[in-house]
Amino acid sequence: MKKKMLVAAAVVAAAGLVLSGCSASGGAGDDIVIGASVPLTGPLGTMGTPVSMGYQAAVDEINAAGGVDFGGAKHKIKLVIQDNASDPAKASSQAKSLVLDSKAVALLGPVTPPLSIPEATVADQLKVPFLTSITPIRAFGGANPNWNYAWDVFFDELQMTQTQFQASDLINTNKKVVLFTDTEEDGVVMGKLWEANAPKLGYTIVGRETFAVDNANFSSQVAAAKKSGADIVIAQVIPPEAIGILKEMKAQGYDPKAIFMEKGGNTGNFVKITGGLGLGVMAANWFAEGMGLAREKEFIDKYAAKIGGINSDLGILVCGYSIANVLADAIKVAGGTDPAKLSAAIGKTNGDYAIGHIQFTEGHAAPLKVIQTQWDSNNNQVMVLNLEGKAATPIVTPEAGLK
């Protein structure tokens, strides 16, 4: 027994020393290493892919121009992207590894609160600047009102949860609404806001169906929604749940006049992946043709064909592109990669980027304004409610895909 213990102790010590020595090898040289743990696979893979494309596009442009200018020299950026498979635990451990092993001086975030919050926590723990997007700002701030190194650029749920009612004002309905919300941050925060906003805007919430993330069976929830007689369905779900709800609605013959699928409907090829059921589904958006963003046409011309249409995927790409540029500008302003100075420089950002004007306010968040869009048969999301909350392209009702 004693010999076994001795062997074990020796192996621990020796293996630890040898292997930790291995991990310390390698240097970034003059390059600046920026890490990103994003969901390239799993339920959020459809969102992680365009955000990483946006990061890469920005980094390629910056490097093509010689790199980030500070300290009298230009430093190229080395972007290290890892796939966290939509797993919060993996996102957290990868964020840690990117900083500790890959020596990343800053992190670009994944998408959605379940992944962004664990990575933001790691950033605060390790005191490394972290900049994320596609993470609604109240969910981000709700997880920690006192972030130190973590920053978020995305919409404010308060404005976003009014757009569904504003869009519904443009069509004839019985003003009865049923909510489908999962139990992750967005579902909790937005569900409460919809319940609070509805009476103020002349609508009645006749039902709220809640379920755990990744729920696969919606038969009872859809039956209850159908029974409530609501003309409007508002859902805050992940893409697989959105598909499940639409299939169940089709199966039960429930075709309301307006369906809003937030997050679930913000995924490229939504009409195709729902087998056509998603045609006419609406979703809030932060990028669309005719929205009036300065570089709108440039991005549509350059990426719409590649990404498969003018839809949320393109918006996610533009968000990724924009925050990568915010980070590069902050490095320049900070005059280097000192974590505290860099984080402070990110906080002072006040400028126009591809996704619009970015300025951080309280809670380390920079709010973007959203519009409402509707899926058409060309895999585009057409703007139906503009930034002023007024009608744009007429809404097609009832939802065409469920006919």
Binding site: A89, P118, A143
Partner: protein, 318 residues
């Protein structure tokens, strides 16, 4: 060497190593501290599982419950009661031990694959409960409050002390009369019963200790992670990891979980660079070990050592 000296060494060596690691922790670089924390937590998990699965022959797939209870109890106590860290970790461990007793009582009516399936069912049910329980924020992330946000080096110190406690308590239990009854039950339940070994009375404290250590591991894991999700903490992967580590190292041995943890931890760390092939590489290693070294690497080493010593003995006789 006298039995007393042997006993002293088997407790003394781990204590000395742990003290050295603890004292030098603050001078260790953050990456290494984080690495060793992960490794020591895996060792603790595997050793705690090995108590039930290896020495007790109870193939549990429910240990993820203890990790989850330990980590969430830590987060909830720190957030709502604001206790200092050490009492929090202890309370989380005790809570997990109580859950261990609760689970063990019905599970001990089951044997073999039925126990594995029963414990898996409990793990799935616990996950289902937690993902819908608003008290622990359901499927939202539960952030560890500022009072629990300690440096990587401090977390490493907690992991070191926890591993030492695990080693000492498990060695003590295995060498005690309770440990002998445990192994007797595993090897021949009818025979053990015939000499008066009571199944439930023997296994209940073992499950409680296993739950206690795994819960404490969950508590330190919570401190290391910074924020918790049900997916991350009540993940059945913890039970599978513990089993895989013990099978590779050597089931029912003291050093097996230690050696298995080193192999699996660093295999995963370096195989991660090969993306999707990482799982394949791990699977191949596992299949090779199970196929060619069914008693694990410790079994292989013991066999090799015996073979060499017996050859020497034969040669000296000639």
């Amino acid at each position: 060497m006298s039995t007393r000296l042997k006993s002293l060494l088997s407790y003394g060596i781990p204590v000395v190593i742990a003290v050295v690691l603890y004292v030098t922790a603050q001078s260790v670089d953050r990456a290494m501290a984080n690495d060793f924390t992960g490794l020591f937590l895996l060792m603790t998990l595997a050793m705690a599982w090995n108590l039930v699965g290896g020495f007790g022959g109870q193939f549990s797939l429910g240990h993820s419950i203890f990790v989850g209870v330990g980590s969430y109890a830590t987060a909830v106590i720190l957030t709502t009661l604001g206790w200092p860290l050490i009492p929090t970790v202890l309370a989380a461990a005790v809570m997990s031990a109580l859950i261990g007793l609760l689970l063990a009582y019905p599970l001990l009516r089951l044997r073999g694959p039925y126990l594995a399936v029963g414990s898996l069912g409990m793990a799935v049910a616990s996950y289902g409960w937690m993902i819908n329980w608003n008290f622990t924020k359901a499927s939202q992330a539960y952030a560890i409050p500022v009072s629990g946000q300690i440096s990587l080096q401090e977390t490493y110190q907690y992991a070191t002390i926890l591993l030492l406690i695990a080693v000492v308590s498990i060695v003590a239990l295995v060498r005690s009369p309770l440990g002998l009854r445990l192994v007797a039950l595993r090897d021949n339940e009818a025979g053990a019963a015939s000499i008066g070994v009571k199944r439930v009375r023997t296994l209940l404290p073992v499950w409680a200790l296993s739950g206690l250590l795994t819960g404490a591991m969950g508590a330190v894991y919570a401190l290391q992670s910074g924020s918790l999700t049900v997916d991350a903490t009540f993940n059945i992967q913890f039970s599978l990891d513990a089993a895989i580590v013990c099978v590779i190292g050597g089931l029912g041995t003291l050093s097996g979980p230690v050696i298995g943890s080193i192999i699996i931890y660093y295999l995963r760390k370096y195989a991660a660079d090969f993306a999707n092939y990482a799982l394949l590489i791990e699977a191949v290693v596992l299949v090779i070990v199970v196929r060619f070294f069914p008693s694990g690497l410790v079994g292989l080493a013991t066999k090799g050592y015996r073979s060499i010593t017996s050859r020497r003995t034969d040669a000296s006789k000639k």
